[in-house]
Symmetry: C2
Subunit: 156 residues, 2 copies
Amino acid sequence: MAIKSALDALDIKILKILQNNSQHTLKDIAEQVNLSLSPTHDRIKRLEMDGYIKGYVGILNRKKLNLGLMVHCQVTLEKQNRSNFSEFEKSIKEFPEVISCHLVSGNFDYYLNVISEDVESYNRFYQEKLAVLPSVAHISSLFVMDEIKTTTSLPL
Amino acid sequence: MAIKSALDALDIKILKILQNNSQHTLKDIAEQVNLSLSPTHDRIKRLEMDGYIKGYVGILNRKKLNLGLMVHCQVTLEKQNRSNFSEFEKSIKEFPEVISCHLVSGNFDYYLNVISEDVESYNRFYQEKLAVLPSVAHISSLFVMDEIKTTTSLPL
DNA sequence: AAAGCCAACGAATTAAATTCGCTGGCCTTT
DNA sequence: AAAGGCCAGCGAATTTAATTCGTTGGCTTT
């Protein structure tokens, strides 16, 4: 028999609650899933231990923190060798301005999401940190005019 | 005199801690900022009340939850009137598959981030929910091959 | 049918958050 | 320059929540 690991409906319900608001009390969650405190507690700990929950974070308001500019940034690398790629990725991971980076199919290679105070500050990041990375062939910057939706909640 | 509102170095330090891990105890945070419990508590509550902290969430592991596919989706609307835009935006906000949507400068209009189980399930979303929205002129889908970096932490 | 297992339970304990009255330093006002 | 008021920080007391643990009942397995 395989190791017990599948999630049941209650686990999913708990995950849905926690991914929307992790500050609910155990009592609160227990009521919503119709269990008592201890099994609810056990389930949450199990979900954490098994890696279904990566962690708990506070979501900050970037506009109030003077980080009003978001830029989508398409980066193409020179295609010679794949070793360029891991070097590039390593740098990206260390830049706090980059809040996401994906390798995508299509014309360009990486799609970044960059947070800055303003255009000037973005330009500084662009010139001094991004454009100087070795093997960067092309970068194009798309400015975010309006943030329609942003959530960390997955469709469960 | 302006209403007291600026954040000092300790506030920023607290925000940095909370945006990385909201499960730290008050005692823990208090030690890190060199304050006692009560002022630390007061500051956190103030930061919440003033909207610097939008909320606290659990971050789930989408790969473990059978949501292995992420698609970047560029959507162009017909340009006649702006009323199309708000209708489109309203629908997007209601789709749980869409975890982010930005209005961007450049050739297309909206840039979406969509989460699905697999290509089949994405195609269902595409055909049945996205492509049928009124005034959608063009959609192109870029598949995420690798997730290099994803964080909710802002560069403070 | 008996044995073993697992999930749920409630009570007891421990730990954390919250409240509140007090204090000292700093700024304002005269 | 002195007095008064204000604000941030403090510690103790209280409330609330999380955690632990021994027990129970229902299912499955043999």
